[in-house]
Symmetry: C2
Subunit: 526 residues, 2 copies
């Protein structure tokens, strides 16, 4: 098994200058694991940011093809992490081995997809307006635009995806693809996992001759603020709680130079169950919905936390069906004790609310999370009661019964921004409820028909984003290839001779990429 | 001449509920102009934001072709604003008629360019990943992505471009193109101009049957904060001072729901004059540079406020040449008395700094701005002295002589973010100073070779943006078609039947736009 050193990763070196040590925990037993991790000192945090800044001019100037080699090499190293590694992740997170094996493939696949994006070249956003020397009243100079990486990016990983949203996850992949060196703050819930993934990234960096400092990682619960406030950091990627994400946003906005933060934070992912679907297939919907609610112990950003239906005998029967299924679900171990505490507290709020009724689920006690089902008055949604807008992270969901189609719209209007919304319906429903799609478009990043929001495909079209508080900036996505856009900015060259232009903008189009030339897409040489 | 009513524009109606009145001023004489304008009350500010929010669902759902008709109609109305209008603008701004006529054409041309973007359809960012039902271990659902407008946008115009960066300027044009209704805060320096342009926009809105509230305008010096803080506003465009822009950014970041602000604020636009260029053509460079410094009384965001050269007899002779030319430049009337005060104060700071020498220019006094030339120690740049980083808005520039090529790099490293940087050089210079382009790319939005930064072409490739404090978000541009990206966000549809998808994503590709289909650009039907 790989050695776990527990030192910070700074500019290709390991560093443990501090005295505060951390330990990760066996998520199932609560037992402290043997490895010792060293919280980065303020000087180490600064050194990590400076190492990234030092790497930036070299790294961003590498050809996209070279950066693609690096990402592919990371993917290979991730795939090569074997059963020992999977066992470490499982121990730190209590997630099953099958899930971790799948997530490993997803994470390496994501790296390879960004390598493909780099080779495809559309991320450059190359645009050329050729000179018009004879234009009246003034000639037009030659103008060309492409995009470059913003600079060093600080990434904060999530507890719930120790691979795909962590050390080598989507934020890291998209930042590295964009030409931005990364300083990753290791998640305290899976530090041994983080260390092995960081080692994999550094092996890949070495194999592909990347500059020292292209990837850095620091340990510690109290290092985030100093990292975000360091002047070398130019953007932040974050996946986690609303409170944590908003705190980083506020810090970033208050810097002498404010920087963008892409925080994916809080979503209750409404599911709307329409009448004809209930008439046609209530049982399968109940089964699939319940599976989505309890999948991975409900620890998904896209976990369906709210289910809305229209009052009817069929909906009452459906609620009874789901209640029965929820009562049958076994308890599960959560990612960590803090998560279980939060889940318990969230349940208490729901249980204590006079407008909310407990429908199913065994009393929450012990070391595992008990699946739960609640039902809330529609008025809570329409009036914007905070309790329904707060994500309860775990295997629970709240049903809301609305009186009719008009009240359904009113309830949806009351929702905050979400990552996803789901409509379960038959063709006749879609005809009757045509207002839902335009309404939901204004609320969410992704709308699903007859599917379940858990399960986020990594592809060009995915949006894992949405209006606040789902994220801090609805213009981004943290899954899928569009994620690279968050870390790019345009630069324009005016009247530049061909030899001095970047390859993406040279007349001969040596990269053979598509460019917008005088207003038309083209792959031709000029 | 058109009647000037001075009431706020709210949801297609005029409103003057307040008691605070404002007057604009003849910029040349300082005389108060007869029209009375009514500062919007807090209720009117809210009503304007709500009118925009009311228009949003309808306006954003219009086809891009319909929005293009609206923009074209605005352009026609702008072009039809005649000599009376030009006279009003000249009176409010002291800008010459020829300049205003040119700016009118630029502003209408900008509207037409965004109409073209809408018809081109690349702004949709359409992406399709078709279902892979047989994929192992899990099938891939059909996923499709396009972009929609963020929602109502608040726009704050600039004093220095009363048309092109104001009521119907680039921020308004790009927001309207994106499908975002606008609430425009009229600039106090040209309220009669703003009123006539707003009337033109509303005539166009009526002709093309746009929803009431698609464009709103409020008067008042104290209405900006309430506008930015209104929950209906989803983004802000601003052109103006660093202090004003930063204040809006801070307000927007502190909202319960933070929103993006695109503020174009402060830039000193360094010009680097290289040795071979001086040897070859010092006189023409001196002439063209001086013309750029004093053009429009130096009231351009891209005014060259810093000129850097390497110590040599040729550079000394060049400095003497420019000094002579600056002494020959006539004083000019500024946009308003406040601008003249600011210019005077900026000059005082430069004159009072022990590291800065006054080289040329008649004493600043009276009602007009006197062009001035200064020279600063290179150490001020290298050490990041604030006085050199602050934009002095007006016809002045500061020369810096560096010892050698290494000191040139050090001086440029010390610069804050800029809209532009300019290199004046010969081919031999470019060979010798190859480090400049990658270095400047990290500092600016646009790099020019052998040109002058004043004069910002409106086209696809333009970047009028750059790192802080040039703008609040280096990922945007406020000139050129990429400006539309600031106001768009992606939405993903999963497993949607063709009939329910927006046209941009339907199988038949009825808009005949280019889309990214399964990773490849395509205009084909599916």
């Amino acid at each position: 098994m790989t050695q776990i050193l527990g030192h910070n990763y700074i500019g290709g070196q390991r560093s443990a200058a501090g005295t505060v040590t951390l330990h990760s925990v066996d998520a199932t037993s609560g037992e402290q694991l043997p490895h010792t991790f060293y919280e980065a000192t303020p000087e180490e945090v600064a050194a990590a940011a400076q190492a990234a800044a030092g790497a930036y001019p070299v790294y961003r100037s590498l050809s996209a093809a070279r950066r693609a080699e690096f990402l592919d090499a990371i993917a290979d190293e991730l795939d090569a992490l074997g059963d020992d590694f999977v066992a470490v992740v499982c121990r730190e997170t209590a997630l099953p081995a099958g899930r971790i094996q799948g997530e490993r493939g997803r994470t390496s696949g994501q790296m390879r997809l960004f390598a493909k994006v780099l080779r495809r070249g559309d991320f450059y956003g190359a645009r050329i307006d050729q000179a018009l020397p004879d234009r009246q009243p003034l000639p037009r100079p030659d103008l060309r635009q492409y995009r470059i990486g913003l600079g060093p990016v600080a990434v904060f990983g999530a507890s719930n995806f120790p691979l795909a949203f962590s050390t080598a996850g989507g934020d890291t992949a998209s930042a590295l693809a964009a030409g931005c060196p990364v300083v990753f703050k290791a998640h305290g819930g899976h530090m041994a996992t983080a260390e092995q993934v960081a080692d994999a990234i550094l092996r890949a960096a070495k194999k592909t001759a990347m500059p020292d400092g292209v990837f850095n990682m620091i340990y510690g619960d109290r290092v985030g603020a100093a990292l975000v406030q360091h002047p070398a950091i130019q953007a932040v990627g974050f996946t986690g709680s609303l409170r944590g994400g908003r705190a980083l946003c506020d810090m970033a906005a208050a810097r002498p130079q404010p920087i963008p933060v892409f925080a994916e934070m809080s979503s209750i992912n409404p599911v709307i169950v329409l009448p004809q679907a209930l008439a046609a297939r209530a049982e399968s919907v109940a089964r699939d919905l319940t599976a989505s609610v309890v999948q991975g112990c409900g620890q998904f950003c896209t976990n369906p936390g709210l289910v809305i239906g229209i009052r009817s005998a069929e909906f009452s029967a459906f609620v009874a069906l789901v209640s029965g299924l929820i009562n049958d679900q076994p308890p599960q171990t959560m990612l960590n004790a803090g998560g279980l505490d939060n889940y318990g507290n969230g349940l208490k709020k729901l249980l204590g609310h006079p407008g909310i009724e407990h429908l199913a689920g065994h009393p929450q006690q012990g070391k595992q999370a008990q699946p739960q089902l609640f039902k809330a008055d529609a008025s809570l949604l329409i009036d914007g009661d905070a309790v329904l807008q707060d994500e309860v992270f775990g295997p629970t969901t709240v049903f809301v019964e609305v009186a009719d189609q008009a009240q359904l719209s009113a309830a949806l209007h009351g929702l905050h921004g979400q990552l996803t919304a789901t409509i379960i319906g038959e063709p006749a429903d879609f005809e009757q409820f045509g207002e839902l799609t335009p309404l939901l478009e204004q609320k969410v990043g992704r709308i699903l028909l007859n599917g379940y929001p858990t399960g986020v495909e990594v592809c060009d079209s995915m949006v894992h984003g949405g209006p606040y508080p789902a994220t801090s900036d609805a213009r981004g996505t943290s899954v899928g290839t569009l994620a690279i856009d968050r870390f790019l900015r345009p630069v324009c060259f005016q009247n530049y001779p061909d030899s001095l232009l970047p390859d993406a903008l040279k007349n001969a189009n040596p990269l053979q990429i598509q460019r917008l030339v005088d207003g038309l897409p083209s792959r031709e040489a000029l």
